[in-house]
Every structure is written in structure tokens, then in C-alpha cells.
Symmetry: C2
Subunit: 380 residues, 2 copies
């Protein structure tokens, strides 16, 4: 059966090119990068090269990089070990963040820190002024995701960071860049103290993340031990994951047309506009919406049922982020302030550069067809 994978915000198929990265790793780059002999120090040099590649893709301006095991560990490290620990610490966090960010702030609350959560609009966009307005003289760290993993809302993290610094130059700014990295480009990263990313959203492997941090910005290790990654992340480096991550970032830079996924999005939404009673939960304005994640609510239909009827046709989408799929989607629906009907009918469609316009149009037409059938059932 023809398969159309449109759940690229959950994870992506590894690039075919990574097969060669694997072969090279398994043959000659499997040694422990901390060992003292030359074939091992060569591995460390490859890891250092991967950092350069990723920092370049990020557009680092005085930034450094260390590798972690995933986006969640990266965000945990920044939020729980970034900023200088002092009394009366205060934090600001946007209201519809990924659970790895939200849970880190809840942990800080549980140990007595003050955290202000700033509500987003219904599409997941947070107001830069509202974030800056929540900053006070004790604010140690502000965290706003670059692209929302549920709605594809794009936050202007450059502007938010600048406003935060204008309000309190001591406050540090973190952007969760997991869904944005290599897809949404930053012009000016100079006010972004920490930016956290993940490899497997980019057609590399699960098991590798990174933290970009400004040189001299406070950061301590979260995983303690042998002091790898310049003392910032212990544990033997996942060389295969790291080299694959860099290869994928290079692939995106050199071989992916930055406008291509916008074409897919427009084609998909255009096709969906023929379906009655569909609410687009993603932001309407192009500057507020990334190209690769669309969230629509098919009113009167249960999103999970729709997911499974599409699955029967070989089309894979989600009802929300995979990491919250098993817990239901109440958390994010509440954060966005969706109605019960909107939340029930919400499905997320997410594109990759490997999807075709035909695929997304087929998917939209299948949604239309199944919606018509499901609505008949619902009426019975």
C-alpha cells in the first residue's frame, strides 16, 4: 500500500545518506573519543567538527555547543542548571511549551522558585510584550519556544529576547528550538543565551540533542560523571548520533529549498478549505506560522478516530505531539483555551522536504472523504 507519512513533527525518517555515516562510524569512528591514542582523538575532532556545523546552521554569534541525548535533556539542562543559582529566583515561561520545558519549571516551583507562565493566544503565539512585562528584577531565565510543536506557531524569539534584555539585562533567554532548527532561520542570535535542539526532528537519529549557549553564560552539567563535553555533559558521546545530526543539518542547508514546505502547507490548507466546518488552529498570518506544522480541528469528528481511518488508507498524522498522545491532549487544549469540540477534532499534520504536493493533497482529500463518513456516523 502507498504510504504517506505526515507526522514529521513527531519524528522523521532517517536520511538515506546516514547509512554511510553509520558504516563509517562502525568501521573507523567507534573508539572512545576521550581515549588518548590517535584513532580516538580523530573521533573527538569529528565531534568538534559536528559542533561547528551545527553552530553554523544555528547562526551562532559567540555561541558554543555541547551534545546531549535529546531535546528534553537539553531543555532540562538549561532550565535546571542554567542561570546562576541565587535567592528569590524568578522565571518566566510561555504558556504552551513542550512538557520538557513546562515540567522543568514545575520542578523549580516545587522547590520554591517563582515562575510566571504567560498565556499564549489560541494559536500558540505568545505576545513579546507580555513576556517582557512578566520579567522583574529577580528574573533569572525566560523560556519561549521558537516553533510550537502542536500548532506550528512561530514566536519571534529574537524580538522577545531583545525586549527581555531591555527590561532586565541580567535575565537570560532560552528558546526551545526543537521544531524550528534548520527550518526557521534566525537573523540575530546575539540575545539568545541558550537554544536547544534535537536530531531526530531533522531526519537524523533519535538519541541526540544539543545545547547552543553563549560563551561565558552560566551553565552547569545536569548529567554528572567523567566530565565529557568540556565538563558540561558526562557520559561517553554518542558519536553516531552526533555525526548523523551534523550530516542532516548540512543536508538541510545545502539541499532543501527553504520555501518548499510553505508550498506543501498552502496546497494542503487550500484543499482543506473545501471541507465544511474545519477550524485552522495554526496561526493565519504567515509570519506567525511555520511552514511544516499545521493543526486543524475537524468539528464534530473525533481526531483519534480520524487518525485511524486515515491510517487505514496508509496516511499517518497525529492528534497532537507524540509525547502527549498517550496522556490525551487536555494539557495543550487548556493552554490554548480551545473549546471542547475544537480540542476533540484537532489533528496535526506535519511535513518534511520529502513529502510531495500530491501527497498532501491526497491526504486532505482523504480527510474530506473520511470526515463526511464519520459525520454521518456521528449523526446516527
Amino acid at each position: 500500500m502507498r504510504e504517506i507519512y505526515l507526522d514529521n513533527a513527531a519524528t522523521t525518517r532517517p536520511l538515506a545518506e546516514l547509512k554511510e555515516v553509520y558504516a563509517a562510524y562502525a568501521e573507523e569512528a567507534w573508539q572512545n573519543p576521550s581515549a588518548l591514542y590517535a584513532c580516538a582523538t580523530r573521533v573527538q575532532k569529528q565531534i568538534d567538527g559536528a559542533k561547528e556545523t551545527l553552530l553554523h546552521a544555528f547562526g551562532g554569534q559567540g555561541h558554543k555547543c555541547f551534545f546531549t541525548s535529546c531535546g528534553s535533556e537539553s531543555a532540562n539542562t538549561v532550565i535546571l542548571r542554567g542561570a546562576k543559582q541565587k535567592k528569590n529566583m524568578h522565571y518566566v515561561c510561555a504558556g504552551a511549551e513542550h512538557p520538557c520545558v513546562e515540567e522543568s519549571f514545575k520542578f523549580l516551583q516545587s522547590v520554591g522558585c517563582g515562575v510566571t507562565f504567560v498565556q499564549t493566544n489560541k494559536n500558540g503565539v505568545v505576545s513579546p510584550e507580555a513576556v517582557a512585562g512578566a520579567v522583574n528584577e529577580n528574573t533569572a531565565l525566560v523560556s519561549v519556544m521558537h516553533v510550537n510543536n502542536e500548532t506550528g506557531a512561530k514566536n519571534d524569539v529574537e524580538r522577545i529576547a531583545a525586549l527581555v534584555k531591555a527590561r532586565n539585562p541580567q535575565a537570560l533567554f532560552h528558546a526551545d528550538g526543537v521544531q524550528a532548527f534548520c527550518k526557521e532561520h534566525l537573523q540575530n542570535t546575539s540575545n539568545i543565551d541558550y537554544y536547544t535542539v534535537s536530531a531526530h526532528k531533522l531526519h537524523a537519529h533519535k538519541g541526540t540533542g544539543a545545547v547552543f549557549y553563549k560563551d561565558h553564560t552560566p551553565i552547569k552539567p545536569y548529567i554528572l560523571g567523567g566530565g565529557q563535553e568540556n565538563g558540561l555533559r558526562s557520559g561517553t558521546q554518542n558519536t553516531l548520533g552526533i555525526l548523523s545530526f551534523a550530516a542532516a543539518a548540512e543536508y538541510f542547508e545545502k539541499r532543501v529549498d527553504p520555501g518548499y514546505m510553505r508550498i506543501l502547507r498552502d496546497a494542503f490548507l487550500n484543499e482543506c478549505s473545501n471541507i465544511p466546518d474545519v477550524a485552522v488552529l495554526s496561526p493565519e498570518n504567515e509570519e506567525d506560522a511555520c511552514a511544516h506544522i499545521v493543526n486543524i480541528s475537524v468539528l464534530g469528528v473525533n481526531g483519534e478516530t480520524l487518525l485511524h481511518t486515515l491510517e487505514a488508507a496508509g496516511i499517518y498524522i497525529s492528534t497532537g505531539s507524540a509525547c502527549s498522545s498517550k496522556k490525551g491532549k487536555s494539557r495543550i487544549a487548556a493552554a490554548l483555551g480551545l473549546s471542547q469540540e475544537e480540542a476533540a477534532g484537532a489533528v496535526r499534520i506535519s511535513f518534511s522536504p520529502f513529502n510531495t504536493k500530491e501527497e498532501v493533497c491526497v491526504a486532505a482529500r482523504e480527510i474530506a472523504k473520511n470526515t463526511a463518513v464519520l459525520r454521518k456516523f456521528m449523526r446516527k
Copy 2:
């Protein structure tokens, strides 16, 4: 040039068989295991199957398993998030543990917990009675490594755990099993509350570890977020790493002769006995020494210099664990109470089932040859 890799305690070459695991992962098991469609839930089932394989290899008795990114994260999780948090917590730790264990306990000390470090003997073996003697009524957790990564000392963790429980049934017991897993087998795991392991010491990939824990034993997540791994470790699972880990454990169970590495060790030490002034830092008694790690001190020679002269002959060994190689080896030398001369001349040789008797004899003869030359230089 012929290459002889004898640094298998630092890391191991991936099994050739893992190429097929990679191909299967990249083709049909790359979906997000938390997604709701069938091809993703199949991935979750493969991960669950890997847990069964690993629990079987461990000899679990009422144990469960969750995956992490490495042995360091596993140990951090157990030490910093295992045991119930209460006032006046006390911990016991052996004296020559891996930095991921030692640093975790130092962190607990820094936040006001009491930690008793129990000195090992010169070979890295800790006395079971001394460990049990350090346990008091407030002891929450005791940690002793199964096989020492520097000397290959084997601790009788079954007996230590039983003595700890006899002294305080509420105290929980953790064994760092990173160097022991699938190489040293446990008869009775019923008193071992936590056992932590790593894939890349076993000819699988870097980037995957696991925690075996007794069902109903307290354990909280260290990496916070989407609640993967039954809420115990957030972050999208590293499916490739996990399936490779299970494949390697099966390989060890089915295809590795458990007595083979003992033959390598005996042959190596026999050959070394011809070199004058060599102190064997590993335990003498077979029951106290694992088969795959040997530490010798070539007195009057600098270990690092010896390492590089062997490297020139295509033979790879280490002066100590890779994770401390860049910090020097003062930490472990102090823990073991080595003399300055012993510490300076120490080199670690570690075997894998893929080494041959000829290889280890060639290595020993090269050590003899280089030692003679280096000692001449030193005398000049």
C-alpha cells in the same frame, strides 16, 4: 598495519550484526514509539521486547527496566532520584566508584546529605562487612560497583546487598553494572534494588543505557518531559540504540563462551610475568577479578608513554578509564592508595570476545620490548 584493540573497557567495536539492526530501524522502525498508529505501536513493542531480553540477561527477579542515554545517566537517576526523599538521608558508597556515581554522591553531600565513602583495598575490592558496617538507620541507599572499571576488581554485590538488608531492611542497594553486565553473572538479584548498565561496553552503540529496578522500589524520573518509558525517562526513545543493545546482550548469551576471556587474561598475565618489576594492580584471586580487565603497573615507566609506544605498534590500551584520561589518574590512584611510582606506570588492558590469545600475547611481548627500551631512556 595489524591492529590489536585492547581498550574494551573504554568502548567496544559495534558487532557486525548491528548493521542489520540499523537497516531494519532505518527502513521500518524509525517511527515515534509514542505515536498512535500501528507501525509506531509496533516499534513500542520492539522496545518492550528489548526490555525482556535485557532483564533476562540480568537475571531479574521481580525487576523492571527503563532505558536511558548512558550508564552515567542511569547512575545519576538512581542516586539522585531513587530512594524516598526524607530528612537526614544518609548514603553509603564504595571508595573507587566511577565518577558518575561519585559525583552524584558529592552532589548529594553539597545539598546537605550524609555520605559515607568506604575505602576499597589496593585492588579496588570493597569489604562487604565494611559496607554493611557503614549502614545506619537513616541509610537510604548504598552503591557498590559490580566490576571496577580501572582494576577489574569484582565485588560480591549479591552478598553485600544481603548484608546491607540484614543491617537495615529499608536501605536500598544499587550496583553499577556497566563493566559487568553480560560478562559476570549474578545468581540471585533479589536484594539488588537497582542495577545500571550501558550498551557500548557490550559491542552495541554509544548513546543507550538502562536501569533495572525492583518493582515497587521508589524511583523518579531525572529527565523531565513527555513521560516516555512509563513516566520514568522523558525524551523520544533511541530505538536504534535500544534494539542494538538487546541484540548485543543476546549475542553474548548465545554466542560468547563465558570462560573465553579468562583464557585471554591468563595468557596475557603469564606472558607479562616475564617482565621484571611489573606490579599487577588487579586482584590476584580469581573470585575477586573479572576476566576482561587487567591493570598492571610497569614500574619505572610512564604509562602514557608506554601507551603511545604501543600505539605506534598498532596496539591500543589505556592508562585508566577514558572518562578520566584527560584529567589524569590522580583520583583513582588516591582511592586505591597506590604509590606514586605504581600510579605513574599503570596501564589498563581490557579484552573482548573478539580478541585472540595470539593478540594478547603479542601485546604482552610488545609491552616487554617497549618497557626495556623506555627503561633504558629513563636511566640515561
